[in-house]
Amino acid sequence: MRIIATFICFFAMSLAALAVGVDEGRLTDPAQEARAQDIMKQLRCLVCQNESIVDSNAALAKDLRMIVRERITLGDSDQQVLDFMTSRYGDWVLLKPPFEGATIVLWFSPLILLLVGFYVVYRNLKKQKFITTAEPLSRDEQARLKELLTEADDC
């Protein structure tokens, strides 16, 4: 009984998670609202910094959500909405940093680290002679192999 009550409590509490990002002023056109939601997911909440404005319930995040919707109803393209935000808050407001001169290290560092990792593993394996040419079988091993193969033929 207690378990069921606990489950009901958890379920009731988790409903609150669905409420975030649901504003009163949602757009009536579902396609436009979907576009707006998509853009909001790419925008950082400046108050909480590691949340998108969809996930955040800060007052500023709500204002920015309404602005995204407003720009879309005014006929802005996705890029124009993002430009509107970056012209005020900088590239910082984008959760995904743009691909440009200053961020090139950021984008390529995982690849570089991966390649360095491969090289280190390769070098260590070579040092420990895991990568060597196979030595020929000894006499005993050859006899054993022949035995096994004939056994297999019998089946």
């Binding site: 400046l46 204002d63 005020r88």
Partner: protein, 172 residues
């Protein structure tokens, strides 16, 4: 030679982390430095006409201060004596009351003193967004309608003489 490579990598990573981790993540540089102030028109607190606008700032010849504040913002109370001090030193300060009620602003200014030449009421916070404001208080140094500097958070005593005043003077 080979022995030094790991040490060199260690040094490079240490240096990068030392620099990277000593940055303050809440200090987001303003996009608007050296740009003209965004266009806006606000009604002054206790008035109905849009008498405080970007034009007001553009026609100012000397360096001026624009301060976003609110009566509901606790750090603003900490900052307020320094704004009063700036006024006493002869600086012109414009205020924008961010998401606040006229009644509360009036009371705030009566209690704490009024350092502002004009106070615009930004009730829905849209002018704040135009300026890239994301927390209270924020202070801009403006000359000839061009934004020269942005200070995020309250101006504290330790910053006032050593940081804020020199920046203000150099903008002149």
């Amino acid at each position: 030679m080979n022995k030094f490579i790991p040490f060199a990598i260690f040094c490079a990573i240490s240096l990068a982390l030392y620099v990277g981790l000593s940055l303050n993540p809440s200090n987001i540089p303003s996009e608007l430095i050296n740009d003209p102030v965004p266009e806006f028109a606000l009604t002054e607190v206790g008035s109905d006409t849009a008498s405080f606008s970007s034009e007001t700032l553009a026609t100012e010849e000397d360096v001026i201060i624009m301060n976003f504040f609110a009566s509901w913002c606790a750090p603003c109370y900490v900052e307020h004596p320094f704004l009063m001090e700036l006024k006493n030193r002869g600086y012109k300060i414009y205020g924008v009351a961010y998401k606040d009620r006229a009644r509360n602003i009036t009371r705030f200014l009566e209690e704490q003193g009024n350092p502002y030449t004009q106070v615009g009421a930004d009730e829905n916070g849209r002018v704040g967004i135009e300026f890239g404001v994301y927390g209270m208080p924020e202070t801009y140094i403006i000359k000839n309608g061009i934004i020269k500097y942005k200070h995020i958070g309250p101006i504290l005593e330790m910053q006032f003489e050593d940081e804020f005043i020199p920046i203000l003077e150099s903008a002149r």
